[in-house]
Subunit: 681 residues, 2 copies
Amino acid sequence: MLKTFFSPHSIAIIGASTKTEKIGGIILNNLLANRFPDQIYPVNPKYQQIKDLKCYPSVKEIKKEIDLCLIATPAPTVPAILSECATLPKPLKNFIIISAGFSEAGPAGQKLEQQISELAQKYNLKIIGPNCLGIINTQNGLNASFAPNNFLSGSIGLISQSGAFAAALLDLGKRENLGFSSLATIGNKTVLDETDFLAYYASDKQTKVIGLYLENIKRGPEFLAALQKICPQKPVIIIKAGVTEKTQAAIISHTGAMAGDEEVAESLIADCGGIIAHSLGEFLGYLKIFSYFKAPANNTVALVTNAGGPGIIAADLVAKSKILNLHEFSTAEKFYLQKQLPEASSFGNPLDLRGDANHVRYEAAIKELSKNKKIGSLIVLATAQVQTNPPAIWQTIISAQKYCHFPVVPVIMSAIIAKSIAPDTQLSNFDDPLYAVRSLEKYYLWQNKKNINIALTQPVKISTRQKKNNHYLEQIKNRQRSILLFSEALYLGQSYHLNILPAPRFNSLDPQKISYPTVLKIDSDKILHKNKEGGLILNIKSPEQLLSSAKILQTKFPQTDLIVQPQIESGLELIIGLKRDNNFGPVIMLALGGIATEIFNTKIFFSPQGTPKYFKEKITNSPLGRLLAKQKIDLHLVIENLKLVSALALENPTVKELDLNPIIFYPDQPPIIVDIKVILE
Amino acid sequence: MLKTFFSPHSIAIIGASTKTEKIGGIILNNLLANRFPDQIYPVNPKYQQIKDLKCYPSVKEIKKEIDLCLIATPAPTVPAILSECATLPKPLKNFIIISAGFSEAGPAGQKLEQQISELAQKYNLKIIGPNCLGIINTQNGLNASFAPNNFLSGSIGLISQSGAFAAALLDLGKRENLGFSSLATIGNKTVLDETDFLAYYASDKQTKVIGLYLENIKRGPEFLAALQKICPQKPVIIIKAGVTEKTQAAIISHTGAMAGDEEVAESLIADCGGIIAHSLGEFLGYLKIFSYFKAPANNTVALVTNAGGPGIIAADLVAKSKILNLHEFSTAEKFYLQKQLPEASSFGNPLDLRGDANHVRYEAAIKELSKNKKIGSLIVLATAQVQTNPPAIWQTIISAQKYCHFPVVPVIMSAIIAKSIAPDTQLSNFDDPLYAVRSLEKYYLWQNKKNINIALTQPVKISTRQKKNNHYLEQIKNRQRSILLFSEALYLGQSYHLNILPAPRFNSLDPQKISYPTVLKIDSDKILHKNKEGGLILNIKSPEQLLSSAKILQTKFPQTDLIVQPQIESGLELIIGLKRDNNFGPVIMLALGGIATEIFNTKIFFSPQGTPKYFKEKITNSPLGRLLAKQKIDLHLVIENLKLVSALALENPTVKELDLNPIIFYPDQPPIIVDIKVILE
């Protein structure tokens, strides 16, 4: 679908300029520099000619086939230009709007962006931007952007919501020897967004690894579905900014989008196989490892070094890894290494070749290790010492990629190495062993599909239950209420077979006829946190105490009903919750309840569309899962309740938040939900 | 004490060589390159002359004052050389042994190192090494090492257990623009160790920040005491390798030392104000910030950028920091910024100057921000975009250091910046905003002494109690026993007023006369984990049940005594422990007990020499502290028990391990110790 954007035969540049400091001038120069495509039509009423190209006063004067139209004129002019292009006898369909000044720039800009969106719908236009840097395709030389023209070509497909981030990466790529297949900056993504480009890169043969810089995700569920499809074939590395409330303010002004909860985003993206980078260093590292190296043959790592200290630092990282293992050389393996290497070497892991090792000794070590099928990855460290020639060791490592069945990852900790990498070298160096190890971890997980959890099922179809419940909740909303009373929430929950402990009204009961101890609480559609507000009295032991407790609550909350619940046996208190995320829609949460809730972060987030296997694996691999096992709680009962809340979430879009808190689990009896809170949109 | 090493007037090089690939040749060349010191005496019977220097057949032929003696001959020759030097008419006292082949190289080498150690003691010799790179003093041009001579001078004092690590840092320093005041590689540290050099650097005026690479710590308590004294005056950055059991094997072969528990080391070093770096990137970042930048004026951070995405990435890091705050610009502050900057700028934090910002716009922004007293640090980000000239922005940032009352930290994400830094520039760039933010955190904590917890008191003097207990434990040890019986541990614990729940022997009791429920357990000096081995029966409700339980245990553990303990009320189960660390000696631990112990890491380590305030602050700032507060447990009771165990630890060096598990705390009554385990050395 986006192929025409990346391989156009003809381009019109509206706002082209003779001035090389103007965006319209820079883009024109970039296109001309590589002479791609053949047909370039500058449009600007101010000029008759730019360089040796005819310049047109308007698009309609071109009267030729135009595959792609770049717009770099001031924001207020853009809607009229789009209209004109879309209503030509041969209407134009594909646009890149470079211009800024839209929703990122306040109310007037928002209105302009709205107009663009409407025009796109009306005329079925494909639009990249506005407020973007443009696109680049290094395979055919297309630089339809205002990024400087001196970047490396390679196998990374980059999608960036920030033009400046993309520019920085192209620039740093020169130092880090990172090459790009294509680049798309998507700006305010009024029409085309990250999900569209994911699909394009998935089928682009030159792209081995996809890198994304995102601030928000426009169509969360579609994005996840795309990830789920692509990630098993191609690694997708994501760096997500705007993770905190404070920086979300900066995002709104930056791209006019509202970001969601970061924990939720990370959790769901990882479930679908996306690889999250938490820093620029991780992002660069992951792009390097996937773009240039063989996949690890297994999770065992060997290290070779000429430097004891750095070797140990790297070995520490492997030994501490939950994913990788440090290889232990057997006596036989040591014997063969000893035949190749000087006696003074240290035959452990790291295999220390000593400070006087030259590239010949490195090669002897690597060749011997290449015979070892137990090794899954090799990290080769070097520091510049007396007899060391880092460029020669670098060449040795390049050759080793061919004859080793595992990746040979260079960590050459020297200032001179960057200067000695030839630009066409298909390899990157890692400065810091930290990123070499983390990158190998991600590669191993991806290669073995251990990073993919989710199997999204289709949403449930509209059922009678759903119709009935939607109608019930609609009626409550119509009365301008958003917090459900206990009885209402009980009704809703019971229709999904949630085992909620009933709580009859105090007024309807004979205090003599109920069993003690019991609990008295208020039931209000105004007060959300009963406990904090003092609307809850526990451990009532007699009818007299019940009556006096009722008096206390009635005095404190005069307009409020009271409900009575038997006090139940203690067990493991969990919380099951539902929230609606700005990016992804409904999300289900499980966490430890009770006093430890705020002290230990045990939250696990789930997509309500996940399969039971997905729920099970996420819990089993968490600290909470280990606690459940220790307490001998049947995991299926936990999953069952999560699935019931998931169904409720999918069927009732008006439910904004729901909390089962606590839901008490026992080793030997079914769980009991003591309280349920429901909040409508 | 070490001044002569770093400022010698005369040096003898034993093992000097004409060959430039030999260590003895390289060192001589390094010394000659800077012509320091004036008097250099090569020693080697093979030569009459090296370069234009007279070469001596042995040290005794020199017959001149020799301040420092460098030894670079094969390991087996070293003890005899030392003997010769130490018994000259004017004995030599100061040595650097470069030679390898000592304890890192197996039993023969260990013997040689032992000889060196004995000679040092006998003749009162100061020795650096063996197995080291040598030392460097950039202030007087002394390069008494075999590291290449092209490094930068500056204010970092480096101490490295690994010569290769030091060499790598000098090398990377050229790229990162890091300059060194002096460098000491300490190798196997047979005589002089990290603690000696800490003291030297503390008084060295050129050294602003001390960097340490360590694998083990030789004299833990002295090291901590030195840190405690130095850290408030000079920041000490420590990167510690060999943190896992597997890599400790590599360390033994590397420097022949045994490393201790990493969690303990990190905890106690941090308590004394040491700043731990967890990766090379952190180490470089911390050295940069302390060596070139003003201290943050407060913990509020503002950001200026020409790139939206990278700006948000950096702002995220500040917003997520537990130490730093993201500045929020007031309306008035925005008003003044708007007067200086184009309308299209985004006046949030990050302050986005837009992609077309040149250095003039950056300067206008920084100048305006420099008037703002609320800002404690400024991070200036830049990516190379169309109108950007990173070298000009770099110059703007250099000037800004002078007129700003806060540090102006450059994050120029561009490949060209490294090339445009003049070698005498007193400033470093940060590539990755992550390290800029982490470095500012550490600087703020250090500047405000918020990183220092400990106040070591003197160990308790020998008391009657101590004598009695030492004797008591000695007797047990003499019987070849190491695990104490409950009654013995009770005796020991009670002498420190630990409130241990008594447990009389089953045989001594009348089952009819005790209160139920009760607990029956085995008391063995062979089985350490009663519960795991099934030697514990809880919740015994009657005399009959007690008798039948006793039968079960007697059958299972025929040779073992049984003890009876009343089953006590449930409360918050904690563990208080004592262990002896290889590096630091006795360490006290507090953790959550019960079922959650292995799931949540709540361990806190303490020095037994800490003040009550130290104990209190460490607990209060931990998740466990928040849990205690929630449970309304009196912190003083926790501290009291920790102090009692501390006294026991300090007074009884034969106690290798001790566990109070569980010690049960209540909101309204004193804690009860249900079990105590004591293991002797």
